[in-house]
Symmetry: C2
Subunit: 298 residues, 2 copies
């Protein structure tokens, strides 16, 4: 019995790494490069993904489609795929792996349901496969077996109770802590810089917050590379929290920090091209140049 | 030459511990217990502070006054002291040690200036004296020598460049990180609880965020004891960040979390009476009961 044919839409940092590991574990892995950037073409080629040419062909040949996109693309992508499935008369399993709120994943699911395809909610936690300890794919929904069959193939797949929304909800909470913390650290360093207290604060951290400081030194300069994509993710987290009555301001602030970082020249970096010689202090000084000018600081 | 007579207004958790250590180092330490709570009386007595009876007597006998209060009391207290100094015709050095914004400390300073007294801005970082590694008193202003003379007397005193506002600004940034993080952790745990994902999130943290989880387990249950006092501190941090164009939403969210915790029955605990057998999960479940009811969760 041959393994199911999979498709990855679209193969960015995480997507192409997932595609590669699944291909290496014997799956045929399709993608659709129509209208995609040169970088996406290069990543897909490096991962050995097969270009299906167009969506209609992809939904005809794939048994299961994994959507791994920036949050804002989750819904439009599902609409395009549902349309293609309708035209092709096929219904491969559709897995939304995006960092979106439970509310939005339910909306995506209802778009897919029109085509008759099964829908799985999925939240990815951890670095891309091959970059550290296991990448965890949390999945939830009526039937998560097609995803669970991928467990151990370079990724870990864990099923959650609670139906559509549970996997996305877990991703929102997890990412709410990690990215919430990184942006909080950035905000605090920026405030100290603006108050002329950057050196004094770092000295105090060296005395009483060594671990936190060391984490900041490793992280703060790396944030612009992902900033554009993570604005939407923070907005999804804020929406998730607001939906259950928990303060959403932290992640509105986090989105604002990523919006600021996306304006800096470092936003053009990718994870591979980050200038690792740039210190935290140098990065903060450049970020600060892009803060809004406030009264009295002209 | 006898040591200067000091006064502490008002001797709460931090204030009475500071008073005690300075008394143990040979200073006469006054306070003013007029209209204060039974707990404040008990703390003052335990610390061996001398009750001056009223403010006018206190400003007559003290060479230097340290104000260590909840943020909302900083300005009214300075107004009362300035009035008493005017009536008594005295001008002891006034040190504002409160967790307030640079803007507010400058306002407090201008109130004190009317009386002709010297003003020192001070930000306290660390646990109360006697409870861990050194308590750092950062000080700034035209002449910080009277405070620097206390260095080594159970506290560490560090002078900062930058004039009035620098010491407060440093405290705001430092506390913005630590308390910002504790409230972010609380918000994330609350969201997971509300989504029915509390156990799943803790399991994932056990796998990939062990240190963070261990810090949360130590901290989350302790927050209500200080919640009432820290609402105002978070608002001061938000104001500080907004003044220099840095996103203030994180600390609006932090204030909201403390406002929630202040509504729980645990808000009546003091640092000494916290029920340390209560788990993080038990605390979160109780905090969640006080969240606003949202549409669909009635």
């Amino acid at each position: 019995m041959s393994l199911p044919t999979l498709a990855i839409l679209m193969p960015g940092d995480m997507g192409h790494a997932v595609g590669r590991t699944l291909r290496e574990h014997g799956h045929r892995v399709l993608t659709c490069l129509e209208g995609r950037s040169a970088r996406t073409h290069a990543l897909a080629e490096a991962a050995g993904l097969e270009d299906a040419g167009d969506l209609r062909k992809l939904v005809t040949e794939a048994d299961m489609i994994l959507s791994i996109l920036p949050p804002a693309s989750a819904l439009p992508q599902a609409q395009d795929v549902a349309k293609a499935m309708g035209e092709a008369g096929t219904s491969p399993v559709y897995v939304d792996c995006n960092a979106i709120s439970p509310t939005l994943t339910r909306e995506v699911g209802s778009v897919i349901a029109i085509s008759g395809a099964a829908y799985i909610d999925c939240g990815i936690i951890g670095l891309a496969p091959g970059k550290g300890t296991g990448t965890r794919f949390y999945v939830s929904g009526a039937d998560t077996a097609p995803m669970e069959a991928l467990n151990g193939k370079g990724i870990e797949v864990l099923a959650l109770e609670g139906g559509i929304g549970a996997a996305s909800g877990l991703k929102m909470c997890y990412s709410g802590l990690t990215k919430g913390k990184w942006t909080l650290q950035t905000a605090v360093l920026l405030a100290a810089q603006q108050l002329g207290l950057g050196d004094a604060l770092v000295s105090e951290f060296e005395f009483s917050q060594q671990e936190e400081l060391s984490a900041m030194r490793q992280r703060v300069s790396r944030l612009p590379a992902d900033s554009q994509r993570w604005i939407g993710e923070m907005e999804e987290i804020a929406a998730t929290f607001a939906d259950v009555g928990v303060p959403s301001d932290f992640h509105k602030g986090a989105a604002e920090i990523f919006r600021l970082l996306a304006k800096t020249p470092f936003a053009g970096e990718t994870r591979e091209t980050i200038d690792t010689s740039r210190t935290m202090e140098e990065s903060i000084a450049v970020y600060a140049e892009h803060l809004p000018k406030t009264p009295g600081t002209t």
